[in-house]
């Protein structure tokens, strides 16, 4: 089943990508969502170009990360990427059920935990945390606030 699966990541000029140290940030202007991918999920996401199979992605990710990446790990990552709409949906319609996180750690041990995909949603900090302003209610009167 996975031999015919050739996932493709979302691409185009509405996608902004930036690396911050080992993490990769992705902003999708179409959905206005932003994500922070850890190293393994970013590596797998980049390899999803619509040409490679799951086995090929696993092999290339292994070489890139310097740690063994199984097909199950790739499938788990693809499932998370699919849920976050970071893959073209038609290319992962037939994504088979892989191992769960718990099963993955049980099988490969805690060493595999470092490679597990981590995809966090990015949100702007609340304005009050960074703001230099005294709020918006002083604007109507040009900066005047009632005592």
């Amino acid at each position: 089943m996975t031999s015919s699966l050739r996932p493709r990541n979302i691409q185009g000029d509405r996608i902004t990508i930036q690396d911050v140290e080992t993490e990769t940030l992705i902003y999708d202007e179409r959905s206005h969502k932003a994500w922070c991918l850890n190293r393994s999920s970013a590596s797998i996401w980049r390899l999803c170009n619509g040409q490679y199979t799951v086995a090929q992605i696993a092999a290339m990710a292994t070489a890139e990360l310097g740690s063994p990446v199984s097909e199950d790990l790739v499938l788990l990552t693809l499932e998370e990427l699919r849920q976050k709409e970071l893959l073209e949906p038609q290319t992962v319609e037939l994504l088979p059920q892989g191992l769960s996180r718990r099963q993955m750690i049980g099988r490969a041990g805690l060493a595999a935990a470092a490679l597990l995909p981590a995809i966090a949603a990015l949100t702007a900090p609340p304005a009050s945390a960074q703001s230099g302003s005294t709020g918006t209610d002083d604007r109507v009167s040009g900066g005047y606030k009632e005592p």
Partner: protein, 370 residues
């Protein structure tokens, strides 16, 4: 006896001036300096200034600086990508838009958008485009998060706040000829998205107005001005012939504030027409500077703001005009406190709020009371 500065303030100033000796201060004290920098909204710039010099003997400081840098880069990515996308959509829709402050200003003035904190995106459109711009923002998933006032309306999409302006500051409080500024604006590109920028002299005046409106209450306002006066190719005397003395005084006061942070900034001899005006503004700048060094910015009531705006006006006619402006605002504008007061009585219609306003003013109801 001279009142003492806030702990860490002298080290913070030295750092912002590029005169800090990192070994002269303990690791613990640098931690306090970073706390202070956060309060003053200059954390990313402060951390970047420290990072290049932090020694191996201060591992906790190095780790904290690393975290600050990472968080600033992630936050900046989000704001930058949101601005780029929004500007691209305005361009596609054919709505001219100017980005005020935000990551674009940080990128141009500070050389890196991650060196300046951002808490919202300020977009300026023509007054005639307000309706289409609001429609577009709604299509893009932004929802109005407040009423439109005399110059802007806030929108929000998740944690991203956009203020849609049709003037840069409240026209009732300050003179800024926004239509002429539009004529001088230049088309540029922000990360591939075409958008307009204020001409340097207008941008400088806008930053001065912004700092004044906040009474230079945080070091971030003064740092912005110091960097702007250093980088924008506009001598402070250039706009003087075009604008009235209110703008001249605001420019002069802003330069005096920036000079206190960065003494290398020169204040031209002819910054004010009259020597007594200069003395008066210099004294005001000195008072503001001292206050900012001694204690955190207070929340100012309207009387304090009014007194401050009055103090900037040094001449008879302009002081009279400022009184008139103040009276006009008091008589013709409702503010949030009026609506809050009316809501306590379950009254929400505007005419009801107007009727209750004199009562509130008499009772001096606090705007922050539930």
């Amino acid at each position: 006896m001279r009142p003492e500065m806030r702990p860490g303030m002298q080290s913070l100033l030295n750092l912002l001036r590029g005169e800090a000796n990192i070994f002269s201060v303990s690791e613990q004290e640098w931690m306090h300096v970073l706390d202070l920098a956060e309060q003053e909204n200059v954390l990313p710039w402060t951390a970047a200034s420290l990072r290049s010099a932090v020694p191996a003997s201060m591992p906790r400081l190095a780790e904290r600086l690393h975290t600050i840098d990472r968080n600033a880069r992630i936050s900046t990515f989000l704001w930058t990508a949101s601005l780029r996308g929004t500007l691209a959509d305005f361009h596609k829709r054919g709505i001219p838009v100017i980005s005020l402050k935000g990551p674009w200003l940080a990128e141009r003035l500070y050389g890196d958008a991650a060196l300046r904190s951002c808490c919202d995106l300020d977009l300026l459109v023509h007054r005639s485009d307000i309706a289409v711009a609001e429609d577009l923002l709604t299509e893009l998933g932004f929802l109005p998060s407040g009423r439109r006032d005399d110059y802007a309306r806030p929108f929000r999409r998740g944690g991203i706040k956009v203020e849609l302006h049709h003037d840069v500051e409240n026209p009732l409080a300050f003179d800024f000829d926004v239509e002429t500024a539009w004529k001088r604006a230049c088309l540029a590109q922000f990360q591939g998205a075409p958008a307009w920028l204020l001409a340097p002299s207008d941008e400088l005046l806008f930053l001065c107005l912004h700092g004044t409106r906040h009474r230079f209450e945080r070091l971030s306002h003064i740092l912005d001005l110091a960097v702007a006066f250093r980088n924008l190719p506009v001598p402070p005397s250039a706009p003087r012939s075009r604008r009235g003395s209110e703008s001249d005084n605001i420019l002069a006061l802003s330069l005096m504030m920036a000079n206190r942070l960065d003494p290398r900034l020169r204040i031209p001899d002819n910054i004010c027409d009259r020597r007594e005006d200069r003395r008066s503004l210099d004294r005001l700048a000195g008072q503001l500077w001292q206050q900012s060094l001694l204690r955190p910015a207070p929340v100012l009531d309207w009387r304090a703001k009014h007194d401050f705006y009055l103090a900037i006006e040094t001449r008879g006619w302009n002081r009279f005009l400022r009184h008139f402006r103040h009276l006009r605002i008091l008589l013709t504008r409702l503010i949030d406190a009026d609506f809050v007061f009316a809501q306590r009585l379950n009254l929400r219609r505007t005419w009801q709020v107007w009727l209750l306003r004199p009562i509130r003013l008499l009772l001096r109801a606090s705007p922050t009371s539930p």
